[in-house]
Subunit: 226 residues, 2 copies
DNA sequence: AGGACACGCCTCGTATACAATATCTGCACT
DNA sequence: AGTGCAGATATTGTATACGAGGCGTGTCCT
């Protein structure tokens, strides 16, 4: 008998210290609580969590692989600064991946999907905290892509999303960024409801490109030296 | 004066133990020197490199983030097994990204590019070691994508490549995998020479899909239990 | 004033040590 | 034979300890 898969509570996945720290540090970096190029002092973090440096270092190594920090020999880890050309490349890839995701997802969407997306949109307009905006923003994207049933693709999108979320927050707090995002989200949702994958794809593309553009316009011009 | 950027040897990047170990472990995993699901004993690796467990663990944490190993609480790291559905998804994403890369690259290719690609193709046919095949295979792809001037995209492709390289080796050693790869590579190169980005893109797509297909046909059927 | 060196402090990278957990083994019991 | 339990052993995850390299400051020399 192949053991009827009742959902057992998957014992033995109590997180280790290094995992907890990874999660919190990641969120802190994504949330913009560190300045770019700011070094992360291992001892400080260790004291903060009441642990030794070892799990902190392991967490930082993970985040290094995720591209959120960079180690400099004997100087420790600093939060990565994303150059403008790189930012453009990241958005270019986002377009590619997210367009594909929505294309695959639209045919599989159900009333449940729309209801969930609707809820997130509602919450979005009522939310005042920037951090929560960003969370809801991602939640909506994830909700729309989930029916594609492509966990690998969606994880990839998320990891890329994580890298630029700091900037997305900037963009949403800037100008009428939030209203515009809300408006565009609803348009996308409508296209999905209509089952129009092409239109949804096109709107997602415009949405992402638009965010990238306003970002560029409002970024402190970091290319000028001195 | 903005200091004429002569390429200084970037001192202060002498690799740490954990970096060296990361590199070697990664290559070992990619090269298929570990079986899937095989646990990696920290002490063993440490002894091998004549160090303590600490840098080994840090290396493993990096590789975990790269998706090459998975940690299980109190049981350490095991080499990740890629399920068939996930494999399919990975190849789907590869198509998307590599098609984009070649599209962007073709217009920027120079004689230098073609000469380099030609050299790699030559080396490929003369090579008998499977590990070197795989290296040259990647070298060729990288060479063709490089003119796109999209380091972010190319790094992404490489990290995905790394995840499946074990399987690519299988495929190339199987059947007439290598000859076929060589043939297809040359076709792609021809299209690039002709400046026909659409055709190159199409060939890349077929190439990747073809590899995926033969892989599926020859994989030990891992879905049947008992 | 400016450069060369010495000293001290801070932080990193890693070795060693140890408790907690998993895994193995043998033995008693049925 | 199969189950349950008690050590013994192996392996992990983390704390502590320490050497080595960066970096600031002061002092000396010219």
């Amino acid at each position: 008998m192949p053991l009827p898969s009742f959902n057992a509570p998957n014992l033995g996945v109590t997180p280790t210290a290094s995992e907890v720290i990874t999660k919190h540090l990641r969120e802190a970096i994504i949330g913009g609580h560190f300045d770019e190029d700011e070094p992360i002092r291992q001892d400080d973090v260790a004291r903060l969590f009441n642990v030794s440096k070892i799990p902190v270092r392991e967490a930082l190594k993970r985040l290094e692989a995720e591209g959120l920090v960079v180690f400099q020999r004997n100087k420790g880890a600093v939060v990565t600064r994303i150059s403008e050309p790189e930012l453009a490349q990241i958005f270019e890839v986002r377009v590619l991946l997210e367009v594909q995701a929505i294309r695959l997802a639209v045919p599989n969407m159900t009333e449940e999907t729309f209801a969930q997306a609707e809820r997130i949109c509602q919450a979005f307009v009522g939310e005042t905290d920037i951090g929560h905006w960003a969370e809801l923003n991602w939640a909506l994207h994830a909700c729309l892509y989930e029916p594609a049933k492509r966990p690998f693709l969606i994880n990839l999108i998320r990891s890329i999303h994580d890298k630029v979320e700091r900037y997305l927050r900037m963009q949403m707090s800037l100008s009428a960024g939030k209203d515009r995002a809300d408006h565009e989200h609803r348009e996308i949702l409508e296209a999905c409801r209509a089952g129009d994958a092409d239109k949804a794809a096109m709107l997602i593309e415009q949405h992402i490109i638009g965010v990238c553009r306003t970002l560029y316009e409002h970024l402190p011009n970091r290319l000028t030296p001195n």
